[in-house]
């Protein structure tokens, strides 16, 4: 990502990520900030459908949306030098993702020296009825760690 000193605010860091990542545009994903709480938004689009009979969003799209939400939340929270790298994710599918807008919020459970643990939940009409959840580990490039490691 861009130099953290040039992008000091959470809003600017989020806007930079949304603008810079082509795949987020492919999904049509956006995100809004209320203080430090970010809500990711995935408006329904026909190309996101995985099952035309229901119709339902592709499970991979839901997983991808949850993963991108985790990456954005980490970028908003930490002044990262580069985008975090996904180490592993476990996606639990709870309900079919219907042909409507999907929302997601990430909970950063721990940020260690190099690795962050993040939980994400996605829902549609009702926050209390999530469609899917993700737990994942992400490799960080925190500026202070790289500076500390420098000679």
């Amino acid at each position: 990502m861009n130099d953290a000193r040039a992008l000091p605010t959470r809003e600017e860091r989020l806007a930079a990520m949304l603008a810079a990542i082509p795949y987020m545009r492919f999904l049509g994903m956006t995100a809004e900030l209320a203080g430090d709480e970010m809500t990711a938004i995935l408006p329904f689009a026909p190309h996101l459908v995985g099952n035309v009979m229901i119709p339902a969003l592709h499970g991979g799209v839901i997983g991808a949306f949850l993963e991108m939400t985790a990456l954005c939340q980490l970028g908003v929270r930490e002044p990262l030098r580069r985008l975090p790298k996904t180490i592993d994710v476990t996606i639990e599918y709870l309900r079919p993702g219907r042909a409507q807008t999907t929302y997601a919020r990430a909970d950063v459970r721990k940020v260690g020296r190099r690795i962050a643990n993040v939980h994400v939940e996605a829902w549609q009409e009702h926050r209390a009825s999530p469609v899917a959840a993700l737990r994942g580990h992400f490799l960080l490039s925190l500026p202070d760690i790289e500076e500390r490691a420098a000679p």
Partner: protein
């Protein structure tokens, strides 16, 4: 164990062409047989997840893996004597380990094998790679539940653990 290559080929074509997200990502069917399936996704600028390196987004690999895992379950159901039209299924969970970034500007192939099929659940392993299965970009483990009006008939299921 019965095996209908025609039904298998039809299923493969349906999975590549009949799903809007698969069409949008330009998935290509590589192979289908009685236990597994392989599909590929071409690299494209609009699928990039890291603009600095040009590496395709993990989400594209996730979708390819989920898709090919589902296809491998349908293959296993057909091989067990079922008709895939009758068995709706849903992904229960999908675990993905990302070993390394996919090489920019290269196609990624995902290969999935349904290694256990029961009346209600199918278990799948998969990996994604450019050309060498031994050097994976990512590996996956998934479980699927059958949700259709009819379960996989007991007599036809190769095993019954769940």
């Amino acid at each position: 164990m019965s095996f209908d290559p025609e039904a298998m080929a039809m299923l493969g074509a349906r999975m590549a062409q009949g799903t809007p997200q698969a069409v949008a990502l330009q998935f290509r069917l590589v192979s289908v047989d009685s236990t597994g399936a392989a599909m590929a996704v071409p690299w494209r600028e609009e699928l990039v997840g890291d603009p600095e390196s040009g590496v395709m987004a993990g989400g594209v690999i996730t979708t390819l893996l989920d898709h090919v895992c589902g296809l491998s379950v349908s293959c296993a159901v057909i091989a067990a004597g079922g008709s895939f039209m009758e068995y709706g299924m849903a992904t229960l969970d999908l675990r993905i380990d990302y070993m390394r970034p996919a090489q920019p500007r290269r196609e990624v192939i995902a290969l999935a094998r349904c290694y256990k099929l029961t009346r209600s659940i199918a278990f799948v392993r998969a990996s994604a790679f450019e050309d060498d299965e031994a050097n994976p970009v990512a590996t996956a483990q998934a479980a699927f539940a059958f949700t259709g009006p009819r379960a996989v008939p007991e007599a036809r299921a190769p095993a019954d653990a769940a």
